[in-house]
């Protein structure tokens, strides 16, 4: 069994040069992207990333006196392929701002306070059902240094390793009902309204978790379907 990758519907993926996002015109190719025949090289990929980079726990909100400031949040994510089949054993990297909208990063240095009890990064592996859970705090919004009123809505970053190289995905998850969602230049770079909606998590009743956190559910669909390869 292997994985077949078909082209995506372009309207489900972001435009590359985004009006009002000033770095994009300098960094995205001008020449047409080259179509290539699929070979084993793109239809294989790293399955044991965790042997090269360390896993970090799924609880980044802290406890007791070391608890992070913010609204406690329990995030339940399911990773699947285009057939809806769960992608188990996938390494997922998560990172986010703290409740004040500040990242722990040397490039984020002025607009909001650091929370000594919040680093904001987790690296996990999905279980057999493609699921992973994270106990964290809800990230804050923050202004982008374009100085023209663009604020990023609260969001969580994900980087995922599927079964093959072409399934690699970097994406962002948003929260329902946030007024900044409608004007965010990154979320709205995806042309198709339904595809945008799928980037927004679903809030579910905050029951069934032991620490009474807000609960959000989200689905991430990696490219690819299972395929039977005919060996020559």
């Amino acid at each position: 069994m292997s994985t077949a990758i078909a082209p995506r519907d372009e309207r489900t993926q972001p435009i590359r040069i985004v009006p009002g996002y000033p770095q994009t015109p300098w960094r995205n190719p001008q020449e047409p992207l080259v179509k290539r025949p699929p070979t084993l090289s793109e239809l294989t990929g790293p399955l044991e990333v965790a042997k090269r980079v360390k896993l970090l726990g799924g609880d980044i909100a802290g406890h007791g006196e070391k608890q992070a400031i913010g609204q406690l949040m329990h995030l339940k994510v399911r990773v699947m392929d285009e057939d809806g089949a769960p992608v188990g054993g996938a390494v997922v990297e998560v990172w986010q701002a703290n409740a004040a909208g500040r990242y722990i990063h040397p490039n984020d240095d002025e607009h909001a306070p650091v929370d000594a009890n919040f680093y904001g990064a987790a690296r996990l592996v999905t279980d057999e059902s493609g699921a992973f859970e994270l106990r964290t705090v809800k990230p804050g919004a923050y202004p982008v240094p374009t100085k023209d009123g663009w604020w990023r809505p609260p969001h969580v970053h994900f980087s995922l390793f599927g079964k093959v190289w072409l399934q690699r995905l970097v994406t962002q998850m948003y929260f329902p009902g946030e007024p900044l969602n409608g004007q965010d230049r990154i979320l709205n770079a995806v042309p198709d309204a339904q595809a945008r909606q799928r980037l927004i998590a679903r809030m579910v009743p905050p029951t069934g978790n032991p620490y009474n956190a807000l609960v959000f559910e989200h689905q991430i669909v990696l490219r690819g379907r299972r395929a039977t390869v005919v060996q020559p």
Partner: protein
């Protein structure tokens, strides 16, 4: 189901995610990989040639015998147990990156090569390309390199600067723009 929309990695990818040693593919859990150790290095620039700092690169390649550590490769059982095939590096203030790896063997039907991914603030989607090695006769028959317009192929061929040291420059846009693939 519709594949999830990509988004930029942004400027705040956690520094600890580029773990020390993540750019060294020549060993796995302390055991040395088979084959000739080589270095791949270069600078990443944008349209105005400004070097790009804080950019994340990942590579994926076959082992020294041209085998992928993956069940889709019919030769997987013969794969080097000490070669993972994947690594990650970030660029420094001067836009420079460096990987230590082993010279990949030629997989069936291909010339030897290393796959690259570029992730960066302002890139709404991952950019994917492939590096080839200078002086390889099989380059002229490689289906991926031959898919690139002839005038641009040389931009994907790394130059040997010293024994075992290859320079692969990446230009994201503009003059000498690196060919990227539409996958």
């Amino acid at each position: 189901m519709i594949p999830t929309g990509e988004a930029t990695i942004g400027p705040f990818f956690p520094p600890r995610y580029v773990d020390a040693g993540a750019n060294d593919l020549t060993q796995l859990e302390g055991r040395a990989a088979q084959g000739e150790a080589i270095e791949i290095l270069g600078c990443v620039r944008q349209e105005d040639s400004a070097p790009l700092d804080n950019l994340v690169l990942e590579i994926w390649q076959a082992d020294a015998k041209g085998i992928y550590r993956h069940p889709a490769d019919p030769r997987q059982r013969e794969a080097d147990p000490n070669f993972l095939g994947w690594g990650r590096a970030a660029t420094d203030k001067q836009g420079n990156y460096r990987f230590r790896t082993v010279r990949p063997g030629a997989p069936a039907g291909r010339t030897r090569h290393v796959n690259f991914m570029v992730m960066f603030s302002g890139l709404m989607r991952i950019l994917k390309t492939t590096m080839f090695f200078e002086g390889e006769q099989a380059n002229d028959a490689d289906p991926v390199l031959m898919a690139v317009p002839a005038a641009r192929r040389a931009l994907l061929v790394a130059r040997q600067e010293a024994p075992g040291e290859y320079r692969f420059e990446l230009k994201l846009r503009g003059a000498h723009e690196t060919p990227f693939f539409d996958d």
